[in-house]
């Protein structure tokens, strides 16, 4: 009997079925983009093809790529809209600034200082994620988005009234909502709305690229683990998830906290790339920008988000020749790309075109399904 069932099921209607996401392929493409991009930019910088201005963007590119990857964990994999990602980035940036300055006298080796700062930033940002996530993750959809937006702004404003400084004996001093007395400019670490000052810029392109690789490693691994499957299962069907014994809140929180802590690390790296950094940098606009990377790359598509983040960080620099109209051109490009990515008609035209020129086309494999469907379909 079982054999009969077996046969009938296997032959019935599978022609229209779609193959699932292929983790190995996804990982290969993502790491390929990262390593390829790193080599390309390094070569460009060495041969002088890439100008000084753009070279200054190397670390931010890595940071934004890393943020896009980590936000994808919440938006794509967990399926919740978060508009406060820049807040966690801020937590990481300012924690990192303090930690690096405190360690400056003790540890001479800069990469080790950076590593410790990254770890502590990750922990603090994770704590912030936990504190914010616990009360709000019972909310869904639009409500959650609005509350994360509010929390992002709260974090930014909180940073506006935080003061850290080192006195002449090397002791760390902290003040809330008022200046610290008797400290000269060189001792200041965080000065309220002015933000982090006197940072000795220890972030380099290579370190930032390694951080991006680590973020990618963690997110891809989570996606292909029991935790990731639980998170995605709850995204796909909450009630069914509960019915097979998945704790919905726990896994939503897990995605949120891991994402926050990765954002904290990216923020720490970001902070170590600028000699001064004001909290206002981490406002709502930055959160939306990161979300744009994710949406543009295809929600849930990690390598798509990486490309979008890199291109959209380079684009404003590349558009300098338009001077005043720079942001206008930027917006138009954004709209055009969005339409091209999400309009089914245009999308199918592009894929037919791609089919004609694709030299690696596997005829048997393409028979049953539309080409290039796996990546963008998640959106």
């Amino acid at each position: 009997m079982a054999d009969r069932i077996l046969k009938s099921i296997n032959t019935r209607g599978l022609k229209n079925a779609v193959r699932g996401s292929e983790y190995k392929k996804e990982a290969l493409i993502s790491y390929g983009i990262l390593i390829g991009g790193y080599i390309l930019l390094q070569l460009g910088a060495m041969t002088g093809l890439i100008g000084r201005n753009l070279q200054g963007q190397f670390v931010p590119i890595c940071v934004y790529v890393s943020l896009a990857i980590s936000l994808n964990l919440v938006v794509g994999i967990s399926g919740e809209l978060s508009l406060g990602h820049a807040g966690f980035m801020a937590v990481g940036a300012f924690t990192g600034a303090v930690v690096v300055r405190v360690l400056e006298n003790g540890i001479g080796f800069a990469p080790l200082r950076l590593l410790i700062a990254l770890l502590i930033s990750a922990a603090v940002a994770a704590l912030a994620g936990l504190i914010i996530g616990l009360p709000i993750l019972g909310l869904r959809g639009d409500y959650l988005a609005i509350v994360t937006l509010a929390f992002g702004e709260i974090i930014k404003n909180f940073m506006n009234v935080i003061y850290f400084a080192l006195d002449e004996n090397g002791h760390l001093k902290f003040a809330f909502n008022h200046e610290i007395e008797g400290i000269d400019n060189s001792g200041r670490i965080l000065t309220g709305p002015i933000g982090a000052t006197g940072v000795t810029k220890i972030a380099t392109f290579t370190y930032a690229a390694i951080l991006t690789a680590f973020t990618l490693f963690v997110v891809l691994n989570i996606k292909n683990s029991k935790q990731g499957r639980a998170i995605m299962a709850i995204r796909d069907n909450r009630i069914a998830g509960e019915s097979i014994g998945l704790n919905v809140k726990k896994y939503k929180l897990m995605a949120f906290v891991v994402s926050a802590s990765l954002a904290g690390m990216a923020g720490c790296m970001f902070g170590q790339n600028f000699s001064t950094l004001a909290p206002v940098k981490f406002n709502f606009n930055t959160s939306v920008l990161i979300l744009v990377f994710v949406v543009l790359g295809g929600i849930g598509n990690i390598w798509g988000g990486m490309i979008a983040a890199a291109l959209l960080t380079i684009l404003p620099e590349a558009l300098r020749q338009f001077s005043d109209y720079r942001m206008l051109v930027y917006s138009i490009v954004l709209i055009a790309v969005m339409i091209a990515t999400y309009n089914p008609t245009i999308k199918s035209r592009i894929s037919t075109l791609w089919d004609k020129v694709n030299p690696f086309k596997n005829k048997d494999k393409d028979k049953g399904k539309k080409p290039k469907k796996t990546g963008k379909e998640a959106a």
Partner: protein, 357 residues
């Protein structure tokens, strides 16, 4: 009444007038088809009216403690009593059926058993323990798994992953292992992959393992849902209309599958189904629900010939204002006295027949 039509009548149809000839009237009756609208259980039936309260357990389960015991279960939505005084005893390896017209409250009972809804009254004793205060997640961990009337799969995950998710609690590694893919992760993943494949093999779906669950054909999706519920290693499996939307050959395959599940895993199965062929063939005990109340209980043979069940399914007074149970019985008695039952039990059958012609 033509002779050839008589063959298609249900047992007892001639007494109640629900013959093949009257099919048109029967089909358009309030109780059959249409949307599920709850009708207040207390208004419809006299709470004191008894039905056969005998506990039906199959012979093989009688010496063991029942897996599920439900006493006086009821739920109110606002002022409306959707289900009232529901009692049930289910054996360890029994296949039980829950039938009733649309809107009778069958799925509501499933939702109460799995704690999607918290019951207003009554108690559920599952595997010897009261489920009071448990959540849906706890219920599953205690050993009750279910499927849904409208299929609820994890559409974007593959078939294999759908089962792996159900094996979540038997997969033994933490978040750090998952993040860094430690040797422990690899060992456990290898093990649950093999286990998931074992389930796929039982259901003959090994070839579908890599496909997205949402893109599978309907029958395979239903099967996958059952498989996913089974992978949580339940002691009781609740199936909500497993044969909905299946053709007769698929249904008969399903029947075999359900029997095979019971024999192989030695678990109890409780199912809601509208396909009478399936219910009468595989269920060992059947509960019939109408307007949120149990109207009959028993073996399949008893249920088939029970006039109350036939009435609930096929209706009596089409188109007229709803009568209370007692008024309906008085009607029947009056009709019996006049000896009219053969052609028309109640209402205005002549009018309906004209329309039918």
């Amino acid at each position: 009444m033509a002779d050839k039509d008589k063959r298609k009548d249900m047992p007892g149809a001639s007494e109640t007038g629900h013959t093949y000839e009257n099919r048109q009237e029967i089909y358009y009756n309030d109780n059959v088809g249409g949307r599920a609208v709850f009708v207040d259980a207390k208004e419809q039936y006299d709470p004191d009216e008894p039905y056969n309260e005998q506990v039906y357990l199959p012979e093989k389960d009688r010496d063991k403690e029942p897996i599920l015991q439900v006493n006086g279960l009821g739920i109110d939505f606002g002022g409306l009593t959707a289900v009232d005084n529901f009692n049930l005893t289910l054996g360890r390896t029994e296949i039980g059926g829950l039938i009733g017209p649309n809107g009778a409250g069958k799925t509501t009972i499933f939702n109460m058993l799995t704690k999607v809804y918290e019951p207003t009254r009554g108690e559920i004793i599952f595997n010897g323990k009261s489920t009071k205060g448990m959540s849906t997640v706890d219920i599953n961990k205690a050993g009750m798994a279910r499927t849904f009337q409208n299929i609820r799969l994890f559409d974007k995950l593959t078939v294999e992953e759908n089962i792996k998710v159900a094996l979540h609690h038997t997969t033994d590694y933490g978040l750090i292992d998952g993040m860094l893919h430690t040797p422990k992760y690899k060992h456990e993943e290898f093990r649950i992959r093999k286990e998931a494949m074992k389930y796929l093999k039982i259901f003959g779906m090994t070839k579908t393992a890599e496909y997205r669950a949402g893109s599978l054909p309907y029958g395979a999706q239903r099967r996958l849902e059952i498989m996913r519920a089974l992978a949580t290693k339940p002691k009781l499996l609740l199936l909500d209309e497993p044969a909905a939307g299946m053709n007769p050959s698929e249904t008969s395959e399903l029947m075999e599958t359900i029997r095979e599940i019971r024999d192989r895993f030695q678990i109890a199965i409780f199912l809601i189904e509208h396909d009478m062929n399936l219910v009468m063939n595989i269920c060992e005990g059947i509960v019939v629900l109408n307007y949120g109340r149990v109207i009959a209980k028993g073996w399949p043979e008893d249920i088939q010939s029970n006039p109350k069940v036939i009435e609930a399914y096929l209706g009596k007074d089409r188109g007229k204002e709803k009568k209370t149970k007692k008024a309906k019985e008085e009607d029947i008695e009056a009709a019996l006295a006049k000896g009219k039952l053969e052609s028309a039990p109640s209402g205005k059958p002549d009018e309906g027949r004209k329309e039918a012609q």
